[in-house]
């Protein structure tokens, strides 16, 4: 069964000036073991596509005009809130761009991790390695153990001690790792990463990418990686979808799309990335192709 099957997704947003259609018929299929990159500029709708999968687009103002998002055969858009809560964290993990705003500064890292682990554990004790009908105490202990294990796995040294730290005691890279740990602790089948490395240094970015890559090979999960960095896509993604103003212009295997882009927009996007080999004057912006709109 296809892990995630987005068909003809149309999303409109209401504002004082009336309704604007944001997504125009998005089609995307993600299988297990695939890392899909979704690239596009600010305002192209890539984040909203990602948020739609775990139905985190508030409605109103959002309204799905047409389409379906089937996660393991079941339409997410038709699911009840209760079913959605069961999916989020447990089956669909999410990592957001800014690790500072997505961790609660008033709670210890460990508390926040254990929270997610317990949530997943209540729904399905096997996530924490327990039999169904395990006692609350066992669940709590297992959740704490899982939190430490997960932090170690994402490469935080002395995890058993650092778990008692508050988010401000972590560096940017460590916070992002903590968020990844939080997204992975429920052993999800699908990971949605919305610009997970944009706020980080290149060296830390490389580590985080390696981490995501290893998780995919180890657990055979599917990943939707939303980014505006084509370099990141070229590094770890197996497939890529290029978005422009709410449409997917081009989608396919990374090798095909990035090496032989068939759409002029993809070519232009590739030309705008400075690399270690770009010479002066070679870089071209996209002025005129994508009118700058107010953010």
């Amino acid at each position: 069964m296809t892990l995630l099957d987005i068909r003809n997704l149309n999303l409109a947003m209401k504002s004082y000036e009336g309704e604007t259609q944001i997504l125009h018929g998005i089609d995307l299929k993600i299988e297990r073991g695939e890392i899909w990159g979704m690239v596009g500029e600010t305002g192209s709708g890539k984040s909203l596509t990602g948020l739609s999968v775990s139905r985190l687009v508030p409605s109103p103002p959002g309204r799905y005009v047409a389409g379906s998002i089937k996660f393991r055969g079941k339409d997410v858009l038709q699911a009840t809130d209760r079913e959605m809560r069961g999916l989020r964290g447990r089956h669909i993990g999410m990592i957001f761009q800014d690790p500072t705003t997505n961790l609660n500064p008033a709670f210890r890292i460990g508390t926040q991790l254990v929270d997610v682990a317990l949530h997943a554990g209540h729904a399905d004790p096997s996530v924490l390695g327990l039999n169904p009908g395990a006692s609350r105490g066992d669940l709590k202990k297992a959740a704490r153990r899982a939190a430490v294990e997960m932090l170690e796995k994402v490469g935080i040294a002395k995890a058993a001690e650092r778990i008692h730290d508050y988010p401000h005691q972590f560096s940017g890279g460590m916070r992002q790792r903590a968020l990844i740990a939080m997204a992975m602790i429920g052993k999800p089948d699908l990971l949605i990463a919305d610009e997970p490395t944009t706020a980080l240094d290149v060296s830390v970015q490389a580590q985080i990418l390696r981490l995501i890559h290893d998780l995919v090979t180890e657990r055979n999960i599917g990943v939707l990686l939303i980014t505006h960095n084509l370099g990141v896509v070229a590094q770890i993604c197996s497939h890529v979808a290029v978005m422009y103003r709410g449409r997917i212009l081009e989608a396919g295997k990374v090798d095909d799309v990035l090496k032989r882009p068939s759409h002029s927009y993809t070519q232009a996007l590739l030309h705008s990335v400075p690399t270690a080999h770009t010479k002066r004057g070679e870089l071209k912006g996209l002025n005129g192709l994508m009118p700058e709109t107010a953010a």
Binding site: A206, L209, K284
Partner: protein, 275 residues
């Protein structure tokens, strides 16, 4: 005009402990020496926390130095009187990293760009009408249009805001421009336009750039010389081509390797598993 940074050290004191005690301090810059010649784009690369921004703050004298000198045209910046320092600042301007935070949301674009002209009124000496003309000229120079003059920052995209920041920095006709990660908050496509704009301006106005970035691709594209900084110490410096093609230190090599290249064949992940 040259900027000479000689053996600059900057310590930040540690947290207070008890009545008189101090915790262990932090050395943000450790014996840093650089020399930036006129008309050159000098790049400074480093990760977050490496001291890049502290160095710019020292150059602008927003921080005091713990040791060392910073000479601008042979004059020690940190020994100037406040009045002399203000005069000097008209030759030394900065473009900030975050175009969303560095423009006052309650000022029009005209007022934002005209503000340095007012502050440095003793150097530029323009009346109100001349100031408006100058602002208009600057907006056109950075690729904005005259109808943008009386709009507010929130009406602009990130790329346009950064252009406004550049126009403001250029207003008083500086020779030396500090660019503190001017494109890190922008999309790659918009970044390319801003970088090309900076190129053009440098040629037109004969500017000297001190360009700070953690993006090696950007540094390679815009700079002539580059210095790599790690934990407050300079790791290496030299012409861009030399540092990028033949890095001497392991740290620089690591940075270069970590840079994601949009060519799938250069990916470190792709070699072991053919997807």
């Amino acid at each position: 005009m040259t900027l000479d940074i000689q053996n600059v050290t900057k310590n930040f004191p540690g947290p207070r402990q008890g009545f008189f005690g101090r915790g262990e301090g932090f050395t943000a810059l450790d014996n840093v020496s650089l020399s930036i010649r006129k008309g050159v784009s000098f790049g400074l690369v480093g990760e977050s926390g490496s001291g890049k921004t502290t160095l710019t703050r020292c150059i602008l004298r927003l921080e005091t130095l713990s040791a060392g000198n910073i000479l601008f045209d042979g004059v020690d910046i940190h020994k100037l009187t406040p009045l002399e320092m203000r005069r000097l600042r008209s030759r030394l301007q900065i473009v900030f990293q975050d175009p969303y935070a560095s423009l006052d949301p309650r000022m029009t674009i005209h007022d934002i760009v005209a503000e340095p002209l007012v502050i440095h009124g003793d150097v530029v000496n323009l009346n109100a009408r001349q100031r408006t003309e100058r602002v208009l000229e600057l907006l056109l120079q950075v690729g904005l249009r005259s109808e943008h003059l009386f709009r507010y920052p929130h009406e602009f995209s990130g790329g346009q805001r950064q252009r406004i920041g550049i126009a403001r920095a250029l207003a008083v006709g500086p020779e030396f421009l500090i660019l503190d990660e001017p494109t890190s908050a922008l999309d790659v496509s918009v970044q390319a336009d801003v970088l090309n704009l900076l190129h053009r301006l440098q040629e037109e106005l004969n500017l000297t750039y001190f360009f700070i970035s953690h993006d090696l691709g950007v540094i390679r594209y815009i700079c002539d010389d580059v210095a790599v900084i790690y934990r407050g110490k300079l790791v290496e410096q030299g012409p861009v081509a030399e540092i990028f093609d033949h890095p001497k230190s392991d740290y620089t090599r690591m940075l270069l390797d970590a840079m994601p290249d949009p060519d799938p064949d250069r990916s470190p992940f792709r070699q072991k598993d053919a997807v």
